[in-house]
């Protein structure tokens, strides 16, 4: 198959087109600008709907409106903009509306900077907005995966009627790699959207998350809980690298996993038995698999572009505090040499 050189942002835009995304609304913010720029051209070339919204608030609520009709919808932003979108994401989770939301994460808090960071892990994996809910979170570590995961995200969103976040950091969004335009790997049958508005079946439909009557919201939340349980059971995704006989296990995701992978190779050359565990679904966190893998491992090192966020999920999964952590915040990136030195020290 033909390979095309694309940045992560461009690849994610093309993936949305291939996945049948019919509506996109976004607002400019670095480092995701190539995404909105690409879709401004591509959506109109394909006779689909593109809107440059007046704000991230408007963008996410436009996405909600288009989703209520049953169309495949997407928006993208970077950290501060994703914070603004959280209310809308919460509404969509409450209304059970599918949507794909891309976050090209940059440094924070506040305006932070525009360098790559993984500091939105908590926000992405704990719902992010108000209320008791989760969004599926997929973290690509290459441009090819960024492409694949956007397509997968559309299928997961439709299948579970829930927003799905593609958590791509600034490195993944900005770097260029060859991409093959692969179709979806999702093999479950997506049910028809009988809940969608604007259908000519004569049945009135309401899309809502508001349940004022006593007990109704609790009932609704319990229905949602069953969905979260199903997702936890079925959608844990991960990858491993040079795991056989590993005594040290590095755990990283996204662009950091690429860097950690290189450290694994160098350490293996020095006969140090190191492997890599790479969560792909950050929510649901691949706890089952990490637990199984962990039996022969003596020491665990979590490496993140943050002050320590995923490390909490690793501790929860392994039921221990005996986990080493190497992280940098504010656009700092743990380097190969730093990872090697850390492993040698422990």
């Amino acid at each position: 198959m033909k390979k095309i050189l694309l940045t992560g942002n461009e690849a994610m835009a093309e993936a949305a087109i291939l996945a049948g995304c019919y509506f996109y609304a976004g607002y400019p913010i670095t480092p995701q600008n190539e995404l909105i720029n690409s879709l401004a051209r591509r959506m109109r070339e394909e006779n689909r709907v593109f809107i440059q919204a007046e704000s991230e608030l408007a963008a996410i609520n436009m996405v909600m409106g288009a989703s209520s009709l049953g169309f495949r919808v997407m928006t993208s932003s970077s950290s501060p903009g994703i914070s603004l979108k959280q209310e809308g994401i919460s509404y969509m989770a409450g209304c059970q509306l599918p949507a794909v939301i891309i976050n090209a994460v940059r440094g924070g808090p506040g305006l932070g900077n525009i360098a790559s960071s993984q500091s939105d892990y908590f926000q992405a994996t704990r719902g992010g907005g108000h209320g008791d809910y989760f969004t599926v979170v997929l973290a690509p570590y290459s441009v090819q995966e960024a492409f694949n995961f956007v397509i997968l995200a559309f299928d997961l969103a439709d299948y579970y009627r829930n927003p799905v976040i593609v958590l791509a950091d600034a490195i993944i969004a900005q770097m260029a790699e060859p991409v093959i335009f692969l179709k979806s790997s999702f093999n479950k049958k997506i049910p028809p959207k009988n809940w969608a508005l604007g259908r000519k079946d004569g049945i009135k439909k309401i899309v809502k998350s508001f349940f004022l009557k006593e007990g109704d919201l609790e009932k609704h939340n319990n229905i949602l809980k069953k969905k979260w349980d199903r997702i936890r059971k079925n959608e844990q995704r991960y990858d491993t690298y040079r795991l056989d006989d590993a005594e040290y296990l590095i755990i990283s995701y996204g662009s950091q996993a690429r860097i950690s992978q290189e450290a694994v190779d160098i350490l293996r050359d020095k006969n140090i038995k190191v492997g890599l565990f790479r969560p792909i679904s950050l929510w649901p966190f691949p706890e089952r698999f990490l637990k199984n893998i962990s039996k022969k491992v003596k020491k665990f090192l979590v490496v993140e572009q943050s002050l320590g966020q995923m490390v909490e999920d690793v501790k929860l999964a392994l039921q221990t505090d005996d986990i080493y952590f190497l992280g940098k915040a504010g656009g700092g990136i743990p380097k190969v040499s730093e990872i090697i030195n850390f492993i040698k020290k422990i």
């Binding site: 509506f23 919204a53 007046e54 409106g65 288009a66 509404y91 508005l197 604007g198 009135k204 899309v207």
Partner: protein, 240 residues
Amino acid sequence: MLKPPKSLEVDTHYCPGCGHGIIHRIVAEVVEELGIKEKTVAATSVGCSVVAYDYWDFDCCESAHGRALAVATAIKRCRPDLVVFTYQGDGDLASIGLSETIHSANRGENLTCIFVNNACYGMTGGQMAPTTLIDQKTATTPFGRKPELGDGWPLNICSILSLLEGVGFVARGSLFNPKEVLRTKQYIKRAFVNQLENKRFSIVEVLSPCPTVWNLSPIEALKFIENQMQKIFPIGIIKE
């Protein structure tokens, strides 16, 4: 007696003398008279009319506070064959959602916008709205709205929107007597017909009584609209 339209489903839960019931009914009548029930979708809002979708017998999408016009924009863009309208109060449309109001109007979205102005936040217990009159007492202006204290002046949405190229129709109606109710209905009908004829953004502001928050009897509340509100918010067609 006048039979309620079939598109109006349930008895009112609004306070005695509230204007929402009348405006809900007008919308339902217009939708029925135009024969567009099967293709009408409302983007509802947050405020007293948050459960407007329980009243109407057509599809409705909830919207977050202030975002109904963003939701409606996307619905109409994706499905131009649908008739799409928003139903928003003054807090929703003129305060928290002002950005969506201005920008959807300025893009010339082919939408119908029903803007219910009762000069206060009804649902949350009667706080100051952007449309609250000078010296009007509310929960957050206990001594009256005072521009000199930084409370600002009543915001005239229709005047602002009438300046925009994207706006095709602007009118302000009132509910203070049956004649004005009928005139308001004509405005609302026109705002829907305009959408069917692709005439860009149409908005009808309705001066609506809130006797509970205003601390007036229903009749006194109608007189307040006639004698106070209409001086600041003159009724009639502002742009066509």
